[in-house]
Symmetry: C2
Subunit: 434 residues, 2 copies
């Protein structure tokens, strides 16, 4: 019997940690109590001493998104190794794995070390790994845990040589699985043409410390403006590279071939191309990586997700935005300006501004907010202005404003401990490790 997909004891240890002054926004009255105790205490966001600004996750939206994506992948013949960089939250990795995720994806060694502190059993490292110190650590980790399954990417013969040399020097206990990364001209990393991909594959197969396990890429780097044609073309080239490397006999040592693509914007296109039937005798596992679906959002992904506002998919319910920021109006210096206690270290601001959606008056009345928008976020202030000139700004000093957020990857990283709420009731706490 093998290891579990993630270590239950390490997860339990999160709940045994103590909440303290390091935990932004949490009530001082619970400092010294354990995360588990506070998660179970039934605290209210507005009655029990939380201080703003706060960012919380909606429990039902979170569960809905986790289940929706797991179900969608299962129905479309896709494995899923959600990108853990989005949340860096092992408690969420555990939910994803319990719902059938095949593994978790990482982008760098520091992230991988966090995953491995929780003994995440299978990790896809969706990058080239050419750092000798990182490879040395990897070799140690492979030796420590015979059940640890690891795959990383390569897009150059030079990179394969660096990996080979570092892993040989470290005396790695068994070969490291590698996917050839296929890129796209003008894109990010990845070989630019199929022939270079074949050469990199050959170099991997020839290395005594590497094993060629498949092909990977990222279609999200192809501009949305370019439409689906180029994305489908690119995914077709991914397929072609798998077939050519198979024809070259490079997959002789692996029980199945991995082909991985799919951020959160085009996973439907990826499934359409990569789950098509493969030639008889070639066992292929297509693996999606999207991670932003967990919280979805009120901005970037709302627009681009196939399960977002412009849903292309009708065979699954839309994802729901799970994040909400709460910040107080601290200043109302001009008729058309209110300042919120919310800044660049609290919320994302790189792919769209926070979106005012709700308000709660100082006396506790809660409801929707009349049209207004955030025009700017500075280090410690958000600037709330009317949606259009002439509209009144519907807030007073002391009111709380609830805001939707865009781009989860730059929200999770700003909070160590995120309350999970149903309404204003806290029902869990999520610890992040950035």
């Amino acid at each position: 019997m093998g290891s579990p997909d993630i270590d239950p004891d390490a997860l339990a240890a999160i709940r045994d940690e103590r909440v303290d002054w390091r935990d932004k926004g949490l009530p001082a009255a619970v400092f010294g109590r354990t995360v588990g105790e506070v998660a179970d205490a039934g605290l209210d966001l507005f009655a029990d001493g939380f201080v703003g600004p706060l960012v919380v996750l909606d429990a039902d939206a979170l569960e809905h998104n986790l289940a929706t994506m797991a179900d969608w992948c299962a129905r479309h013949g896709m494995s899923h190794a959600p990108h853990g960089k989005t949340t860096m939250a092992p408690q969420l990795f555990a939910r994803q794995l319990a719902l059938g995720a095949w593994g978790v994806t990482a982008a760098n060694i520091s992230q991988l070390r966090v995953y491995r502190a929780f003994r995440v059993r299978r990790v896809q490292f969706a990058n080239e790994l050419v750092d000798p110190a990182g490879l040395r650590w990897l070799a140690d980790e492979v030796a420590r845990d015979p059940d640890f399954e690891f795959l990383c990417w390569a897009d150059s013969v030079a990179g394969v040589e660096l990996m080979t040399s570092a892993l040989r020097a470290a005396g790695v206990a068994r070969p490291v699985d590698v996917l050839v990364e296929l890129g796209t001209p003008g894109g990010r990393s990845g070989v630019r043409d199929i022939e270079t991909g074949r050469a990199v594959g050959a170099a991997v197969a020839a290395s005594p410390v590497l094993r060629l396990a498949g092909v990977a890429g990222y279609e999200g780097v192809i501009g949305h403006a370019d439409g689906f044609g180029r994305i489908i073309d690119y995914l077709g080239r991914l397929r072609a590279l798998v077939l050519l490397l198979a024809a070259d006999g490079r997959f002789a040592d692996v029980p199945e071939v991995i082909v991985s693509a799919g951020g959160s914007a085009y996973f439907d296109q990826v499934a359409t191309v990569l789950s098509q039937e493969w030639p008889a005798g070639l066992l292929v596992r297509p693996v999606l990586r999207g991670g932003a679906y967990v919280s979805h959002d009120d901005g970037f992904y709302r627009d681009v997700s196939p399960l977002g506002r412009r849903a292309r998919l009708t065979d699954a319910p839309p994802l729901r935005p799970a994040f909400r920021a709460w910040a107080q109006v601290m200043s109302r210096p001009e008729p058309d300006l209110a300042l919120l206690t919310l800044g660049k270290r609290d919320v994302s601001f790189d792919e769209g501004m926070p979106e005012p959606q709700a308000m709660r008056t100082a006396s506790g009345q809660t409801g929707t907010i009349a049209p207004c928008r955030v025009s700017k976020v500075s280090d410690q202030h958000a600037f709330l202005v009317p949606s259009s000139p002439g509209h009144a700004l519907p807030v007073d000093i002391g009111d709380w404003v609830g805001l939707g957020l865009s781009h989860p990857c730059t929200v999770f990283d700003k909070w160590r401990l995120i309350p999970v709420v149903r309404g204003t009731r806290v029902i869990d706490l999520i610890r992040t490790y950035f």
Copy 2:
């Protein structure tokens, strides 16, 4: 004898914490050792198992900047309450206080709780504070420590009423000091005119739980494009408000009047206006707040600081950029493109891109880098391109690139433990608490 400015035992406790997998970039070989042991071990960034990406602080630049600013303030009759939001590093607060800083500035309650975990004795809260839960916590903290000195800002009678009501309900042990915030039309928070400032001052003075202690504002919100004229005007109005409130008899209860302004861009103008002689009998303490000077930068502040590249000040040596990011070239997919292992959760990207300044080949040769630039930073990748078309890109896979950074406020917050280096030798570690 009063309390120290910051608690030496709490600082010592930082060095007793253990380094582990939560600490991005640190060598796995030191996991389990204390921060103090690792700080003193003489580790080398490139020989001892650090993994990229890394962000480090140059020890000599840091000391130079700390000393330069402290000395400048002393020579110009200015007190200094550096904004702690920049670094959230009590070890740096301790250095600032030891060099004569009058206090430390905070922007929200979560920050203040961190400061008070280290018993920072005097804190300026450079914002309106109208959160009842925050005010309740403040009242408790005031009661717990008779040496705790605290000032916050107010810019509305409504805000003064919220403060009064919350502090009365909490039974605060002694009145809380308040500065009236003066703003500027089209700016951020702060009353827009002197008469409103007088009314807010009167409301503070009339509150049984507040004490009017001075006037504050932020000149940095006045656009750089508008030149110095408007800044000098604004600072003159700050002075005028102090004089009017004094004439109104509102400062009867305080031994000295505080007037605070000054981010990192215009502290010279602030000193010019606020350290001018005040009327006989009116004891005024002008307080600067700039915090970004600690690390200075290779971008935004390099351009705007009076001790930056376009130095207006000749009576002090220029500040030096202290941050450097190190990231490895992981992919070289096109002649004019290299991808670095560096992303949005590692470095600032909101006020200018990281600036390539140095390189180190895989074999250890270190030197300057031929002209190139970062065109884009995504979640986990930085895009390195030639400075101008036709220039060759001077890096190979496996090389390390050293980069200068802009806007320290969005660099410190991405790292829990920052190596302080002399060359590539680690001589200290700075813990941040965001």
